[in-house]
C-alpha cells in the first residue's frame, strides 16, 4: 500500500465570527481560496497537477453551498482539470478531508491531493444547513438531542469537572496560545488574507484574549442554563444519564470554542508525486479512524475513536509525543485527559479553539498543521489529532514525521 505523505500545510488567521470580525467582508469562496492559492505558490505547483481537492464545510449553504471545493480550486488557479468535493462530518470535517485525501493516495488511485476546510461562520451562520437530527421527532427523541453546550455540561457533571476546573483549563489555553504567537510558533503556516489589491485584511488570529484570568472568567454567566431549563434539555440530559440529579452548568463563552471565520489546507501525496514535483515530505499519515459514540453525551467520541485507533494501529499512548484535541469545550479536553491519564504538557501545547476559535469545517486541517509544526519545532516524532463531533462521533489521525 502506498504511503500518504504530508508535504505542506497552511491556514488563514481566524477572524472573529461576527459582523465586526475582520474576515466578515471576505466571501466564503474567497476565504476557501486563500490556503489553496498559498499551497500552490509555496510549493511551485504547476497547473493541473493536483488530482482532487477535498474541503470540509459544515454549513454548505448559500455562498458556501454547491460544492465550494471545485470553485475554490478554480479560483485558486489550480487548473481546470482539478476537481473538488465538499464533505461534512461536522466539526471533524477538516480532518476527515485530510483523511479522505490520504485514503485516495493510500489506495493508489490519486497522487497529489489537497485536504482542508473552510467556514465563514460570520456570513453563513452556524446551523444554517438545517437537518433532521434536532428537528425530526423520530430522530431527536431517541437520540436524546441536546445542544452541544448542554452535552458539554453533562460531561462536566458526569465526570466531575467543576467550574474552576474548566475555567483553569481555559486560562491555560489563552496563555499557551499567546505564548505561541509571541514566539512565532504559528508563523510558518499562517498566511494573511488579502484584498484584491494585495492589501492585508487579517494577518493574526483575532479571537484571543491573552489577559484572561480566573477572575475575569468568573464574571461570566453559564451559557446553557436557560436553554437547559426552559428548553427542556435538562430533562433530556438527565434521562440519558439518570445517575445525575441535575446538570451542573459550567460552560460559557470563555471556556468554549470561539465562533470564527477561517480556512486551512494540507497538501498530501505519494512518495513518487513528491519526488516528481520536487517536494520534501514532512510527515506521513500513520493511521486514522472514525467512530460513532453515544449521541447524548455526544462529545466523548475522541475517547472512543482513540481507543479504536490504538487498537487498529497497534500503537499505544506512550507512542504519542503530542496530542491535539479540538477544544470545543473545556470539559471535552478534561475528559480526554482523564480517560487516558495524559500529561498536561503533551496536549494542546499551543492552546486551542478556546483561545483561537473553531471555524467548524476548517479546524481539523488547521490543528493537524499546528501539531506538525510543533513536532518539528521540538524535534519530536508522533502526534495524534482528534476532534469531537456533533451527533456523537469521533475522528482521529496519527501522523509521524519522516
Amino acid at each position: 500500500m502506498p504511503e500518504a505523505y504530508i508535504y505542506d500545510h497552511v491556514r488563514t488567521p481566524r477572524g472573529r465570527g461576527k459582523a465586526d470580525g475582520a474576515l466578515h467582508e471576505v466571501t466564503a469562496l474567497a476565504l476557501a481560496t486563500v490556503p489553496l492559492q498559498a499551497l500552490k505558490e509555496r510549493n511551485n505547483l504547476g497547473e493541473d497537477v493536483v488530482d482532487d481537492v477535498v474541503l470540509g464545510v459544515v454549513d454548505p449553504v448559500g455562498e458556501a453551498g454547491s460544492d465550494i471545493a471545485r470553485f475554490a480550486a478554480l479560483k485558486a488557479g489550480l487548473g481546470e482539470t482539478v476537481p473538488g468535493v465538499q464533505i461534512s462530518r461536522f466539526c471533524a470535517s477538516g480532518l476527515d478531508a485530510v483523511n479522505f485525501a490520504a485514503a485516495q493516495i493510500m489506495a493508489g488511485q490519486h497522487e497529489l491531493v489537497i485536504g482542508g476546510g473552510a467556514e465563514s461562520m460570520s456570513r453563513v451562520g452556524i446551523g444554517a444547513s438545517g437537518g433532521a437530527w434536532p428537528m425530526d421527532p423520530s430522530m431527536a427523541v431517541p437520540a436524546y438531542f441536546m445542544p452541544q453546550g448542554v452535552s458539554a455540561d453533562l460531561i462536566a457533571t458526569k465526570y466531575g469537572f467543576s467550574r474552576d476546573d474548566v475555567d483553569s483549563y481555559a486560562v491555560q489555553s489563552q496563555q499557551r496560545a499567546a505564548k505561541a504567537w509571541d514566539e512565532g510558533r504559528f508563523s510558518k503556516s499562517v498566511v494573511p488574507v488579502k484584498d484584491v489589491n494585495g492589501l492585508t485584511i487579517l494577518a493574526k488570529d483575532e479571537h484571543m484574549r491573552p489577559t484572561t484570568t480566573m477572575q475575569s472568567l468568573a464574571q461570566l454567566q453559564p451559557s446553557f442554563t436557560v436553554v437547559g431549563q426552559m428548553g427542556g434539555f435538562d430533562a433530556v440530559a438527565i434521562q440519558s444519564h439518570p445517575e445525575i440529579e441535575r446538570v451542573n452548568y459550567v460552560h460559557h463563552a470563555g471556556n468554549s470554542s470561539g465562533i470564527v471565520d477561517g480556512a486551512g489546507a494540507v497538501l498530501l501525496g505519494s512518495k513518487e508525486a513528491g519526488a516528481k514535483h520536487g517536494l520534501k515530505p514532512r510527515a506521513k499519515i500513520r493511521a486514522f479512524a472514525n467512530i460513532g459514540s453515544e449521541p447524548a453525551m455526544m462529545l466523548t467520541g475522541p475517547v472512543d475513536v482513540t481507543e479504536k485507533l490504538f487498537e487498529r494501529s497497534g500503537m499505544k499512548k506512550s507512542d504519542i509525543d503530542l496530542f491535539e484535541l479540538n477544544e470545543a469545550f473545556a470539559s471535552v479536553v478534561l475528559r480526554y485527559i482523564q480517560a487516558f491519564e495524559i500529561d498536561n504538557a503533551k496536549i494542546n501545547v499551543n492552546g486551542g479553539a478556546i483561545a483561537l476559535g473553531h471555524p467548524l469545517g476548517a479546524t481539523g486541517a488547521m490543528i493537524l498543521g499546528t501539531v506538525l509544526d510543533e513536532l518539528e519545532r521540538t524535534n519530536k516524532s508522533t502526534a495524534l489529532v482528534t476532534l469531537c463531533i456533533g451527533g456523537g462521533m469521533g475522528t482521529a489521525t496519527i501522523i509521524e514525521r519522516v
Binding site: 446551523g127 438545517g130 425530526d136 421527532p137 431527536a140 427523541v141 433530556v236 440529579e245
Partner: protein, 737 residues
C-alpha cells in the same frame, strides 16, 4: 332521505341545516352510523343544486363528545382477527383504510365547493371538534361552560381526522403543540382568542349567525387551500421553526419520558405534515394514527382510563338489588388533616357535614382547613365566594357526638390505634340512627377485626381515602367479612356523590393500593442498599412511568412512619417478614440522623425553605450505602422493570388472595391511587399486555437475582401455562347503564 342520527332541513335560501341528534343517547358521539350518514349528507348536499351551503349543529346540549371509543375497541378486535387470518400487512392496511375513512369525509366537506358552517351549540371534543375544524366557518354559542378541544392524547390516542394538521395551520406551533399534547379543552373565549373559531354569538342567534355567514358570501375554501397560504409559525425549516421543534422534542421527552407513542406521533405529524400540502399531510397523519391504534399503550389506556373508569364511576360493582341510598348528611369523626379534607370534599359535593373532634377547638380547626382550601381556590379564580359561603355553611364543627343522630353516613378518621377506634365506635353507636352506615377511613387496620368492635357488623365498611383527598380521585371501599350489601351500596353511592372513582376490595393488610405502593417504596430502598446512585433510583422510577420517585415518596409519607410500619410488621408477622437491612437504614435515618422526611425538611432529600430553590438529595446518603455501583455498569432497563414488576406481581397476589376480584379495579385503582405507569393501563394490564408467560419469565429472572419478592404466585404460573389474561380469566361484569 331520512337519516337515523341527523335531521336535514333546507330553508328557503337554500341553506341545509344538518342537526345531529343520535336517538337514545344524551350526547352525540362519533360512531359508525354517524360517519356513514355524514358522508351521505355531504354527497347529497353537494349534488343538490338547490343547496347553497350547509350549517351543521346538534340538537343535544353538547355538539359532540367525540369518538365512540368502544367502536375503537371493536376495531382492535377486528384487527386481531384479520391479523390472524391474513397476516400483518393485510391487518395494517385494513386499519389504515378505516382510520383514513373519517379523515377523508371531513376533507370532503372542506373541498366540496359549498360553504359549510359549524354552529357549535355546546361542548365539542375530539372527533366532534374535528368535524367543526373541517367546516369553513365556526361560530359558537356564548356559554362559559362550553369546552372545545382535542383530548385524545389523554387516552393514548391523538386527533386523527385532521386535528394535527388543521390546528397548527390555524394557530402558531407553540399553541398548537399545547392544544394537541396536553389535550386540555378550552372555553369558547379562549378558542376565539386562539383563532380556533371565528365568532361567538348569543345562543339564540347561533343558527342565524351561521346562515348569515353563508348568505354573506362565506367562502367555501379553507385558508390552506388558498394560493399563497402561509403557516402561522412560518416554515418548519426557518429560524422560528428551529426555535420551536428542538425544544418541542425536548419538552415532549420531559413531560412523557418517551412512554407515550400518541404524543410522539403528534410531534411527528406536526413536523412532517407542516412540510406538506394538506392532502399529503392528512395521509401522513392517518399513517401515524394507524400506528398508534396498533400500540398496546392506546389499547391499554382506552380500556382503563376511559371505558373501565366510566364503568366504575357508573357503579359497576354496586349491588343491583339495593335501592339508591338517600345520603344527605354525613359526619366525620376526627377533624385532623384527613378528616377535615373528607368533610370538605363532602360539603363541596352538597352534603351537610358534621365535623366531630374531642373538643370544639379541634373541630373548629378542621373547618378552618376547609376554609383555607376553598380560599386557595378563590385566589386562583377557580371558585366563587358565594360557592365558598355555601360550602362553609354546610360544615358544622362540634365536640358533641349527639350531632350524629340524623347522619346517614358516619366516617371515622381518628388516630390509627385499635383502642382509640374502639372507644370512638362505642361513643358513636349510641347516637346513630337505625339505618346509618358506619365507615372507617383506616389505611392500615383490617376492617373485619375493627368491625368486631361495632354492634352491627353488616353496616360497617371501610372507606379509604388517599392523601391529599382534594386531589386524589380514588377511594378504596373495603369489605369486611360481614359487611352487608346495603353498606356497600351506600359507600358506592357516597363516592359517586363526591365525584370520585371507587374500587371495591376485600379485607387484607394494606388492602390493595398500599400493598402495591409499599412494594414500590421498598424496592427503592433495596436499590439504595445495592449501591445504585440515589438520583438514578429516582430518575429510573420516573422513567418507568411513576409520578414520584420512591425516595421522594418515602419522604412524603414520612420516614418515621415507614419505620413504624416495618416495626409493626416485624412484631405481627415475625422477623422474616422484613428486610433487616432496610430496617437498619430507616433506624439510621430516623433515630440516629433525625431525618423524618418532608415534615422536618430532612429525609432522603434536603428541603429548602419555601421559595428558596428545589429540594436536593442529601449529600450524606452515600455514606449510608454499604457500597456504590459504577452507574455505567447498571442496567437501566432492569431498574425500570423492577419498579413496575414488583408492584404488578403484588397486584397479582391480591387477585390470588381475592382482595381484588375485578381486574378493572386493580388497573384503575393503580393509576388513580398511586400513579402506576398510566401508559400500561395499570398493574394487571401491564401483565396482560406483556403476556403472562413472558411476565412470569421476567419474574423468575428477577427472583434469581433479587429474591422472593419477585416470586410469581401460583395463579400467574397457571395463567402462564394456559396463556390466559386477567381480563380473560376474570371477565368484568358490564356496567349497570
Amino acid at each position: 332521505m331520512a337519516f337515523k342520527n341527523f335531521k336535514v332541513e333546507t330553508d328557503i335560501d337554500g341553506i341545509a341545516l344538518v342537526t345531529w341528534d343520535i336517538p337514545g343517547r344524551s350526547m352525540n358521539v362519533l360512531d359508525e352510523t354517524s360517519t356513514t350518514e355524514l358522508e351521505e349528507i355531504l354527497k347529497q348536499t353537494t349534488a343538490d343544486a338547490a343547496v347553497k351551503g350547509v350549517v351543521i349543529t346538534s340538537a343535544k346540549e353538547a355538539f359532540c363528545a367525540g369518538a365512540d371509543l368502544s367502536m375503537l375497541e371493536g376495531m382492535n378486535k377486528e384487527y386481531a382477527k384479520v391479523l390472524k387470518e391474513k397476516g400483518e400487512v393485510a391487518a395494517n392496511q385494513m386499519l389504515f383504510d378505516q382510520s383514513r375513512r373519517f379523515s377523508l369525509v371531513l376533507r370532503g366537506i372542506e373541498t366540496c365547493g359549498k360553504p359549510w358552517a359549524a354552529a357549535i351549540n355546546g361542548l365539542a371534543l375530539g372527533g366532534g371538534f374535528e368535524v367543526t375544524l373541517s367546516c369553513h366557518y365556526r361560530v359558537a354559542a356564548e356559554n362559559p361552560k362550553t369546552r372545545l378541544g382535542l383530548p385524545e392524547v389523554k387516552v393514548g390516542l391523538f386527533p386523527g381526522a385532521g386535528g394535527t394538521q388543521r390546528v397548527p395551520r390555524l394557530v402558531p406551533p407553540q399553541d398548537a403543540m399545547t392544544i394537541l399534547l396536553k389535550g386540555d379543552p378550552v372555553t369558547v373565549d379562549k378558542a376565539k382568542a386562539l383563532n380556533l373559531i371565528h365568532a361567538i354569538v348569543p345562543a339564540a342567534d347561533l343558527i342565524k349567525a351561521a346562515k348569515d355567514w353563508i348568505k354573506g358570501g362565506g367562502k367555501a375554501v379553507a385558508p390552506w387551500d388558498e394560493k399563497g397560504f402561509k403557516l402561522p409559525g412560518g416554515p418548519v425549516f426557518s429560524k422560528a421553526g428551529m426555535m420551536m421543534f428542538p425544544a418541542g422534542n425536548a419538552i415532549y421527552r420531559r413531560e412523557t419520558y418517551d412512554n407515550y407513542p400518541a404524543a410522539r406521533a403528534i410531534m411527528s405529524c406536526v413536523y412532517e405534515g407542516l412540510q406538506l400540502p394538506i392532502d399529503a399531510a392528512l395521509r401522513v397523519e392517518s399513517r401515524y394514527f394507524t400506528q398508534v391504534l396498533r400500540s398496546k399503550e392506546a389499547a391499554a389506556m382506552i380500556r382503563s382510563l376511559f371505558l373501565s373508569m366510566q364503568e366504575l364511576n357508573k357503579g359497576a360493582r354496586r349491588p343491583q338489588n339495593v335501592p339508591a341510598s338517600k345520603i344527605k348528611k354525613i359526619a366525620v369523626i376526627g377533624a385532623g388533616f384527613m378528616g377535615a379534607s373528607v368533610g370538605y370534599v363532602s360539603a363541596r359535593a352538597g352534603l351537610d357535614v358534621v365535623l366531630i373532634d374531642r373538643d370544639q377547638e379541634s373541630a373548629d380547626k378542621g373547618k378552618a382547613h376547609a376554609k383555607s382550601v376553598i380560599d386557595g381556590l378563590i385566589a386562583k379564580g377557580r371558585a366563587k365566594q358565594a360557592e365558598a359561603d355555601a360550602i362553609m355553611s354546610r360544615i358544622t364543627p362540634t365536640a358533641d357526638y349527639a350531632a350524629l343522630g340524623d347522619c346517614d353516613l358516619v366516617i371515622e378518621a381518628v388516630f390509627e390505634d385499635r383502642k382509640v377506634k374502639a372507644d370512638t365506635f362505642a361513643k358513636a353507636q349510641q347516637y346513630l340512627k337505625a339505618d346509618a352506615i358506619f365507615a372507617s377511613n383506616t389505611s392500615t387496620l383490617p376492617i373485619t377485626s375493627l368491625a368486631e368492635n361495632f354492634k352491627e357488623q353488616g353496616k360497617f365498611v371501610g372507606i379509604h381515602f388517599f392523601s391529599p383527598v382534594e386531589k386524589m380521585m380514588l377511594v378504596e371501599i373495603i369489605l369486611g367479612k360481614n359487611t352487608g350489601d346495603v353498606a356497600l351500596a351506600a359507600a358506592l353511592d357516597y363516592v359517586r356523590i363526591i365525584g370520585k372513582t371507587p374500587i371495591v376490595v376485600n379485607d387484607s393488610r394494606g388492602f390493595y393500593a398500599n400493598r402495591c405502593v409499599g412494594r414500590y417504596i421498598a424496592e427503592g430502598n433495596e436499590m439504595f442498599l445495592e449501591g445504585v446512585p440515589p438520583a438514578m433510583i429516582e430518575n429510573c422510577a420516573k422513567m418507568a412511568g411513576m409520578p414520584v420517585g420512591p425516595l421522594s415518596l418515602s419522604d412524603e409519607v414520612a420516614l418515621d412512619l415507614g419505620l413504624k410500619v416495618i416495626k409493626a410488621t416485624e412484631a405481627d408477622l415475625g422477623p422474616n417478614s422484613i428486610n433487616p437491612d432496610q430496617k437498619k437504614l430507616m433506624v439510621e435515618l430516623v433515630e440516629k440522623q433525625g431525618r423524618l422526611g418532608r415534615k422536618n425538611s430532612k429525609g432522603f432529600y434536603d428541603y429548602p425553605e419555601k421559595g428558596k430553590g428545589q429540594k436536593s438529595l442529601w449529600p450524606g446518603l452515600s455514606a449510608l450505602q454499604p457500597k456504590q455501583l459504577d452507574p455505567d455498569t447498571i442496567d437501566i432497563e432492569e431498574l425500570k422493570q423492577r419498579f413496575l414488576v414488583v408492584q404488578a406481581v403484588e397486584a397479582a397476589r391480591t387477585v390470588e388472595d381475592h382482595v381484588i376480584t375485578d381486574p378493572r379495579e386493580a388497573d384503575v385503582g393503580s393509576i388513580l391511587g398511586f400513579g402506576f405507569a398510566p401508559f400500561t393501563g395499570g398493574t394487571l394490564s401491564y401483565i396482560d399486555f406483556m403476556g403472562a408467560r413472558k411476565f412470569v419469565e421476567l419474574c423468575h429472572k428477577l427472583e434469581a437475582k433479587y429474591g422472593s419478592r419477585f416470586t410469581p404466585p401460583k395463579l400467574l404460573e397457571d395463567m402462564a401455562a394456559s396463556g390466559e389474561t386477567f381480563y380473560g380469566r376474570f371477565p368484568p361484569k358490564k356496567a349497570a347503564a
